[in-house]
């Protein structure tokens, strides 16, 4: 089903080597992957498998040691930090494990923050933020500060903040790691729904096999290498 679609993320022969004392640790050891537009992908692995490093590479938060990362036609490995910031501002939405909302701002302001960085007018960006908050089901919490909301609500605000830019790709780093299982499922369903509606691409990193089951395709990563790629249908069968 993927052959007809245009690739949004292409990773070719990616290596990342950390130095720990005298030892060299290969966090990523020759990764190749392609993610197509409109896909919801999950990268699954145990802790220390290199999945978070992978995500950081894709989002341009870390520089690869070797290899290519091409996102929306742009080579991330060749960009300066300023260009990377600009790239994230224009193309990427980010959902964090610990929500990472700014405590001094209310929900609207938090959601509107990426638009602020883009230099959008206050009126326009708040309108958009309100729209996004309604979309994620928080019409009554517009003026609430993060500490006045539950974890699930906070992560909904986080989702709204990632989506408000209308980004090409959304990265989610253990988005439900701090939530209970019921809320996790709710948030993931919401993410799925929104991504499908808006035909966006999403890459999620998780260690939870069950949550990975919400994705279209699942990449299994062990010791810095992708060992298996499954479609959802295959994955479900396996699980059952």
């Amino acid at each position: 089903m993927g052959e007809m679609r245009e690739p949004v993320i292409q990773v070719k022969n990616l290596y990342k080597v950390f130095r720990v004392g005298n030892e060299r640790v290969r966090a990523l050891n020759g990764v190749d992957m392609t993610i197509y537009k409109g896909e919801f992908c999950a990268i699954v692995g145990t802790s220390g498998s290199g999945k978070s490093t992978m995500l950081n590479m894709l989002a341009g938060l870390e520089k690869p040691t070797k290899g290519e990362v091409i996102i929306a036609g742009q080579h991330l490995e060749k960009m300066s930090e300023n260009q990377l910031v600009k790239f994230r501002r224009e193309k990427v939405g980010f959902i964090f494990q610990s929500f990472n909302l700014l405590g001094t701002m209310n929900a609207i302001e938090n959601v509107a923050l990426p638009l602020t960085f883009r230099g959008v007018n206050k009126k326009v960006r708040e309108e958009k933020a309100v729209k996004m908050l309604k979309l994620v089901g928080l019409p009554k919490h517009m003026k609430h500060r993060p500490n006045e909301m539950s974890g699930g609500q906070q992560q909904r605000v986080g989702v709204a903040r990632a989506l408000v830019l209308d980004p090409e790709i959304i990265f989610a780093d253990e988005p439900t790691g701090n939530l209970d299982s019921n809320t996790s499922a709710e948030v993931l369903k919401l993410m799925r729904k929104v991504v499908q509606e808006q035909n966006q691409t999403m890459v999620m990193v998780t260690h939870d096999n069950h949550l990975a089951g919400f994705a279209d395709r699942i990449f299994h990563i062990i010791d810095g290498k992708i060992v298996k790629v499954e479609n959802r249908s295959e994955y479900k069968e396996e699980e059952e």
């Binding site: 950081n56 980010f94 001094t104 230099g119």
Partner: protein, 450 residues
């Protein structure tokens, strides 16, 4: 990012930590106030000493003369260098000279009623008279219509004494009953003849009392008898009118004070003993004075006095300003410290906004603005504080010194502007390295701290 949003974010970050911001601002307030007050003291001292010099004959005037006794190296039989119109014109050509006027000095005796006074009339050209900044109380400056009219300084009246009682003003402190403006004043130009009248000269002829002339008054200088200022004791006249008068009075005789030929006859031309010169600014007085001395004349000004005062005041100002600067420096360290703390606290937040795509330059500007705000508000409040301190100093010292220092602490507009800009700059410089640090913070390290 829009500039207004940047401002808003910086301001709200400051407001989040009100107490710490207030304490840091307080440091800047004290620093700014101490610099401003110290410098204002220096400026006030300088101002009052310059005003003092001005009272003693102006800051930009040079007095030129050819008194040969002044030149120790010239021998007695040498002809002194005479000052005529050509020499004056030459002096007027020296760069920075604004006014050059010959000064024709004539001693006269004046009479009105029972009172008699002795003073000197100073004949000057129109340009010099106009530009001497004389405050006129009544009438006008000596006109150029060729008729001799006199303009009196406000203290000239004290030169009159009662000829019948021989009482002088400074003995009795009674103001002489002389009205120079409205009553006629009789002038005697040939003072020698006046004192010798009745005796016989070398040829055995009795000397006749000299003729008296009524010379009209054209104006009076502003101020009462107590007001001491430049020229308050002078009597001015138009030089051409004065020359014409002298020629009429003395006819073919030698005018007192003028040189004579070897046979005792007067020269055709009148020579001057002094030249009044005004320079465009006090910075050039020294230079013009030197040029005139090179021409072979004596030139006196307050330049040296002034220079000495200036350098003294400059030193005082530096010392005072230095003391103030130390406290502003301490305040700058306070700002840097506050900013560093704030960055440590906000490491995570900075990481988040970096991941969300906030421009690196914007992050730097945000922190610089915060530091600048601290400097600005500290500077503003510091200025208000220094105005208050300055007012207190002035009222206390003004009373204690009996009005000698009317403004010991003087805060001009430029000092206000400069210190405000300086406070903002100090804030920004102190905040610069913290801001760079925030900018370079790795977004990963920033968001990873669980």
């Amino acid at each position: 990012m829009k500039y207004f949003d940047l401002l808003r974010m910086s301001a709200s970050n400051l407001l989040r930590r009100k107490l710490r911001t207030a304490l840091t601002v307080l440091g800047v307030i004290i620093g700014t106030a101490s610099i401003v007050v110290m410098v204002s003291l220096g400026l006030g001292l300088r101002k009052s000493s310059l005003a003092q010099i001005e009272e003693y004959g102006g800051l930009t005037t040079i007095n030129v003369n050819n008194y040969s006794w002044y030149n120790s190296d010239s021998t007695g039989d040498e002809e002194p260098k005479r000052i005529d119109d050509a020499v004056v014109a030459e002096m007027a050509q020296i760069p920075h000279v604004e006014v050059a006027s010959p000064l024709l000095d004539v001693s006269v005796i004046a009479k009105q009623g029972a009172y008699e006074g002795w003073f000197r009339i100073q004949g000057m050209n129109q340009e010099a008279l106009q530009k001497m900044d004389i405050d006129i109380a009544e009438g006008e400056l000596p006109p150029a219509d060729g008729n001799l009219q006199l303009f009196y300084g406000n203290q000239v009246i004290t030169n009159f004494y009662n000829a019948r009682t021989n009482e002088y003003y400074w003995e009795t402190m009674e103001v002489p009953d002389v009205d120079l403006m409205n009553e006629p004043v009789f002038l005697i130009f040939d003072t020698d003849a006046y004192y010798q009248a009745g005796s016989t000269d070398g040829n055995g002829q009795t000397i006749l009392p000299p003729k008296k002339y009524i010379i009209p008054t054209c104006g009076m200088m502003a101020g009462d008898l107590e007001t001491y200022k430049e020229n308050c004791n002078s009597v001015f006249a138009d030089i051409d009118a004065l020359k014409a008068m002298l020629k009429k009075v003395f006819k073919n005789k030698v005018i007192p004070g003028q040189p004579a030929t070897k046979s005792g006859k007067p020269y055709k031309e009148l020579y001057y003993e002094e030249v009044y010169i005004r320079v465009d600014s006090m910075d050039h007085v020294k230079e013009v004075q030197q040029a005139i001395q090179d021409m072979g004349f004596n030139a006196n000004s307050n330049a040296e006095w002034m220079e000495q005062t200036q350098s003294q005041m400059g030193m005082i100002q530096m010392v005072l300003g230095g003391i103030g600067a130390v406290s502003l420096f301490v305040a700058a360290i306070g700002i840097a410290n506050t900013m560093m703390m704030s960055i440590y606290e906000r490491t995570k937040e900075i990481g988040i906004i970096k991941v969300l795509g906030c421009d690196l330059g914007n992050i730097r500007s945000m922190f610089l603005l915060e530091a600048g705000f601290i400097g600005f508000f500290g500077g503003m409040a510091g200025l208000i504080l220094s105005e208050i301190i300055s007012a207190v100093i002035n009222s206390v010292v003004g009373k204690a010194s009996g009005g000698y220092y009317e403004q010991l602490s003087y805060i001009p507009l430029w000092l206000i502007l400069v210190s405000l800009v300086f406070a903002v700059l100090v804030g920004m410089v102190a905040g610069f390295f913290p801001a760079l640090r925030a900018m370079k913070l790795s977004p990963l390290a920033a968001i990873r701290n669980e």
